[in-house]
Symmetry: none
Subunit: 255 residues, 2 copies
DNA sequence: CTGTATGGTTTATAGTGTGAACCGATGGTT
DNA sequence: AACCATCGGTTCACACTATAAACCATACAG
């Protein structure tokens, strides 16, 4: 049902952060539909300004209407405005950098963060893309996302960032078991030789799966056992608080 | 052409910041389509997660896919990440609310803002859509947009918001002359009895016309002559900075 | 020049989307 | 309790829309 609409909307999924601009032929190939069809659908999406077309290169890209919709979404389902103060508080209490990331279709992207004010701290940029298998956030997400999504992520060729990065799917699945058991994920030098990350999943999808992760990262040497314990406790509390404030669902199997 | 798709996308326009959640019947009424049709289209939009449905109230609202798209858009066309810090700076230096709006097909829409922290300030809550003829942003935009667009905007029946709102097309055209002469627009009680706005156009369209506006709004009593001068200077500087950072074009006739 | 890309357009035909009418549930009103 | 007006959601025959193959026009490389 609503096949044409479904096709049009599926075209939007072709636009990713790694391929943010697409030509007509590529779109037709990738979507598997006829060029004429794709052309008309993109034309309609363009009329609604959900996509726009570069007048010179003819490439299509996501359009300005999305910005308006994002604002409306933020109104009905505040996220950034709720998360930011919580991050600020975490960083204040721990002294370490905290960040919040969301799954965006092909990766986990940092959408809000609070950077530690200490001279030596873990830095990250907004919009930074986090590898699923090597970061605490990625592991926390993988442990609680849809199975198909997890399988797809692990089926890819996983790059190694340090000598401690686990890159075999089986090894990672083992780790994810531990994550599900403890309720939080850690990344001990697996992404950066000097950093240690701790993360908890954030639930929000209607089906009770994760939508992102909340994490704290610090230089290894400061991540002593008591500090770790405190961070885990804080993340847990904050996760609950977030769920409460957002009306998120937490699966009974969690916590 | 692509009627079903167009209808589906037009449903997205029903969601505004003042009505961020909509029920099926309302949506059918507002869109003018049959309930069954709207139900099916919303269902399809929901599958794509462009909208989501509250499991309890059954109301529809903008979905999480929009967040992903906004991030992709931000990748191909950075805007918010460039504009937001500039707004923050303007508000910090002036102490007043600043905002950035874009033309979105039939109106000027606020896409980013920084609200003054002073006890009494101009709020943007219900201002997601700015009337062209009564706000500083609207006038700044009208003065530098495509002629046909301006004519169409002025041909409509223009509502009056205060006793100072100019609603005759000829009077407004006069005002636009002044705007083009000075390079900035003001809205002195024309939209709100207690507010004074100052705005400059932002250029970006390939043809050298405006794409939006950058503005500062403050309570009348604080908008003294020296404050106005400072704001104008700040807006001018910021506009140039924005153009530089975004690769925007500024017409030789401006500034 | 030719081969192969690109973006874009046309058209008969297959099949999808439409909307009036209907259902069951909920919540006020009398 | 009966009633009425909503609500969200569903059904189905018919009408009309969307489809995809074949078609341009253009651009670039060999």
């Amino acid at each position: 049902m609503a096949i044409a609409v479904k096709r049009a909307l599926s075209l939007l999924e072709l636009f990713t952060e790694s391929a943010s601009e697409i030509g007509l032929s590529d779109a037709a190939r990738l979507s598997g539909h006829d060029k004429a069809t794709v052309h008309r659908l993109l034309g309609t999406l363009r009329e609604a300004e959900l996509v726009e077309q570069d007048p010179h290169t003819k490439l299509y890209r996501i359009g300005p209407a999305v910005l308006r919709l994002a604002r409306v979404r933020e109104k009905s389902t505040p996220l950034l405005s709720v998360v930011q103060p919580l991050l600020d508080q975490i960083t204040q209490e721990t002294g370490e950098t905290s960040h919040f990331s969301l799954y965006t279709g092909d990766a986990l992207t940092v959408v809000a963060s609070c950077t530690s004010s200490r001279p030596n701290h873990v830095a990250l940029n907004k919009m930074e893309v986090l590898p699923m298998h090597a970061t605490a956030s990625g592991l926390a997400y993988l442990a609680y996302c849809k199975k198909e999504l997890r399988d797809r992520a692990l089926a890819q060729n996983l790059p190694s960032f340090t000598r401690w990065t686990v890159t075999e799917a089986e090894g990672i699945k083992q780790v994810l078991e531990d994550v599900r058991h403890s309720g939080f994920a850690i990344a001990d030098k697996s992404y950066d030789d000097d950093s240690f990350g701790i993360a908890v999943p954030i639930f929000g999808a209607a089906d009770g799966t994760a939508m992102g992760a909340l994490a704290v990262a610090a230089p290894i040497y400061r991540m002593t056992e008591p500090v770790r314990a405190k961070i885990v406790e804080l993340l847990r509390e904050t996760s609950s608080e977030l769920s409460r404030r957002m009306g998120f669902l937490i699966p009974a199997t969690f916590g």
